[in-house]
């Protein structure tokens, strides 16, 4: 009985059926915990582990400089924005910045298909959850941290970015855009 005291010596050899089950479970566990690091090396989609401390004032300067330098301009030379958010075309193979602040993802990044970028992800206010749809790729944007995600877009199109970490009453309005040309 499970609710009464067991017999005096209960440390006894286990039965064959239990041994078989235990062996199956152990093998299963061994495979799954070996597979995870193996896949880290052979797979092509891993969480990034490159990050830096990024005090807000310094990081904001970097982001503003980045937007000024690479904002897309139309035929008349006027800077292009979508819904007041600047559209930025970072240099192929270079650094790009993406920041969550005030329930917006800034800027709208315009990337080129097949080129590799280092996207610096951060937040200027609360914690945000970067979620790119429909790929369903999710990373945390934490204030004070510069999270570097190296990506090579393989599909062109416009991809909505939403926030999936609660960041206050306007959380559900926080939708941005990523363009791949």
């Amino acid at each position: 009985m499970s609710i009464s005291v067991p017999e005096k010596v209960w440390w006894k050899p286990i039965d064959k059926e239990e041994k078989i089950w235990l062996a199956i479970a152990l093998i299963w566990m061994v495979i799954s915990f070996v597979w995870m690091p193996i896949y880290h090396y052979i797979g092509k989609q891993n969480p990034s582990s490159e990050s830096y401390k990024a005090p807000r004032e310094q990081f904001e300067q970097l982001v503003n400089g980045f937007i000024q330098k690479y904002q897309v301009k139309d035929a008349n030379g006027t800077p292009v924005a979508m819904n007041d958010i600047p559209v930025v075309h970072p240099p192929a193979g270079g650094d790009a910045y993406l920041v969550g602040a005030g329930w917006k993802w800034k800027p709208v990044l315009e990337l080129e298909k097949g080129k590799t970028y280092r996207i610096h992800l951060s937040s200027f206010d609360f914690q945000h959850g970067l979620s790119i749809y429909p790929l369903n790729i999710n990373y945390m944007a934490i204030p004070g941290q510069d999270y570097v995600i190296t990506v090579t877009p393989t599909t062109s199109g416009e991809f909505p970015i939403l926030c999936n970490e609660f960041c206050g009453i306007g959380h559900h309005t926080m939708v941005g855009k990523l363009i791949v040309k």
Binding site: V5, W10, S32, P47, N136, H172
Partner: protein, 504 residues
């Protein structure tokens, strides 16, 4: 030993210490009241997440979502566990409870804590969600409420261990090891102490930060908070599995097939499961991949192995017990003749099924590095922990209530017909609900989100894959069934306590 403090249970023959019984009843009643509050919030949240209903305005939705998490995951479950700890230590060992005054202090602190939390949340001074990730800031009284609640729970754990020591010293039970259920609960209490220390390490600095007395590192908060947030779910796992063994014994006379194996499995939980809480921060900056893989890949599987052992031991124990009753024809006569009309039995069978197949498997996969990128903060996660904590733990606790009512409250269960249906409504409802949640989440539907259709009028709004809406509908059907099952549980329990026939 003053014998007038005891009564002998006519059903189990156990000696019940009356002050312990009072404490069990107080904590159980508090648990059910909190389940009612959390359940009402659940109905509001579910009906808002259904795009076709979208019941509540945004502020009320986020407020009730915060309340739902705290009332259910913290208050209902931990109050019930306190009742379970006192039952496992005092009643199962025929022992008087150690330091009953300290035990009442546990109860009072937890009640005060939960009242402060509820007051702050409902008055809109703590719209920070269950996780209260800084720099979202609540009124300091909110953090104080959490700390008081946790201190209460910690006192409860010490009373539990004190009672075990007292029982051993006074020789109130036959010489030997503790019963398996008590052993499992002791493991739960050990995990609880470790967890609550994490709680102190995160909530005390957070309280000081909210008072403006110190700074805050958001990433450190996430790491330490999950040492509390995930580990506290392992208290639930150990307590739930103890309840499986308890109800298995009371309903079909189940015996553990091997004490050695079952107890080793509980020890594996104590040793390893606390470490494995970093799958929550797999897609965070700051922590290195090596660190994350070590924690989530290696250590966690030793705890999963423990669940695999119980996954064999509990059903096998039930099968052996039923076969001994003569249900031996064919492979499955025992299953057909099992006491399905006993709500406690059907509840734990559904709980085992839900926890293992829906909660466990998804937990292991979502906790792996690559899958986590596509699951983090989507509804897949919400579906996973509703499988473990609601489909598993809550349903098991509901099941054991049908024994606690006659044995401790000494009332005959009122509305037994409804009680028999209750686990099925709740269990099947949860099964449908978590399926809808996890599959909608696979399409990217985020958790903790008020408006996935219009995004509150955001200019960049977009339309989801239509299949996602179908799974949202499936979620809604399941959620309403589960709410109905929960309502029946509360009506039966409250009805029994107030009006049930008194047992001699």
């Amino acid at each position: 030993m003053a014998d007038q403090d005891f009564r002998t249970c006519s059903i189990t023959g156990l000696k019940v210490h009356l002050p312990a019984a009072n404490l069990i009843m107080a904590n159980a009643v508090a648990a059910v009241v909190l389940l009612l509050i959390g359940g009402l919030a659940a109905a509001g949240v579910a009906l808002t997440r259904l795009p076709s209903v979208h019941l509540l305005p945004a502020d009320l939705f986020y407020r009730l979502l915060t309340l739902h998490g705290l009332a259910m995951l913290i208050a209902w479950i931990i109050f019930f566990e306190m009742a379970g700890l006192y039952l496992g230590a005092s009643v199962l060992l025929n022992a008087r409870i150690a330091a009953p005054k300290m035990a009442w202090l546990q109860f009072i602190l937890m009640v005060v804590g939960v009242l402060l939390i509820a007051l702050m949340v409902l008055t809109g001074q703590a719209d920070v969600m269950f996780t209260s990730y800084p720099p979202l800031k609540a009124n300091p009284i909110y953090y104080l409420g959490v700390i008081l609640f946790a201190v209460g729970a910690l006192i409860g754990c010490f009373v539990f261990f004190g009672t075990l020591a007292k029982a051993r010293k006074e020789g109130t039970y036959p010489h030997g090891s503790f019963p398996l259920v008590t052993f499992g609960l002791a493991c739960a209490a050990m995990i609880a102490i470790a967890t609550l220390l994490h709680g102190a390490a995160v909530y005390i600095p957070t309280l000081l930060w909210s008072l403006g007395l110190m700074g805050m590192d958001e990433s450190a908060y996430r790491l330490v908070w999950w040492g509390l947030g995930h580990s506290s779910q392992q208290i639930n796992v150990a307590a739930m599995i103890s309840v499986w063994y308890l109800v298995g014994t009371l309903s079909v006379g189940m015996k553990p097939i091997s004490q050695k194996l079952c107890r080793t499995a509980f020890v594996l939980y104590v040793l390893f499961i606390n470490v494995a809480s970093e799958h929550h921060i797999l897609v965070d900056p700051v922590f290195s991949n090596a660190h994350k893989i070590w924690n989530t890949g290696y250590i966690m599987h030793l705890a999963v192995l423990a669940s695999m052992i119980h996954a064999l031991a509990v059903p096998a124990g039930i099968e052996v017990a039923l076969r001994k009753k003569g249900y031996t024809s064919g492979l499955f006569e025992w299953l057909k003749k099992a006491p399905w009309s006993n709500p406690a039995f059907s509840a734990i069978v559904l709980s085992i099924f839900g926890f293992g197949f829906f909660g466990g498997i998804t937990g292991v996969t979502f906790g792996s590095e690559q899958v986590n990128i596509t699951a983090h903060n989507t509804w897949r996660i919400t579906g996973h922990f509703h499988s473990t904590v609601v489909f598993g733990t809550t349903l098991a606790f509901m099941g054991v209530t049908y024994y606690v009512l006659p044995l401790i409250f000494r009332r005959e269960v009122l509305g037994m017909g409804w009680a028999k249906l209750q686990p099925w409504f709740f269990g099947i409802g949860m099964m449908i609900q978590v399926t809808g949640m996890m599959l909608a989440g696979a399409y990217g539907i985020p958790r903790r989100h008020w408006d996935i259709v219009n995004f509150g009028g955001s200019p960049f709004s977009f339309a989801w894959d239509p299949t996602a809406y179908m799974w949202l509908g499936v979620f809604g059907i399941g959620a309403l069934l589960a709410v109905l099952g929960g309502a029946i549980y509360i009506l039966v329990t409250v009805g029994t306590i107030l009006f049930g026939k008194k047992l001699a």
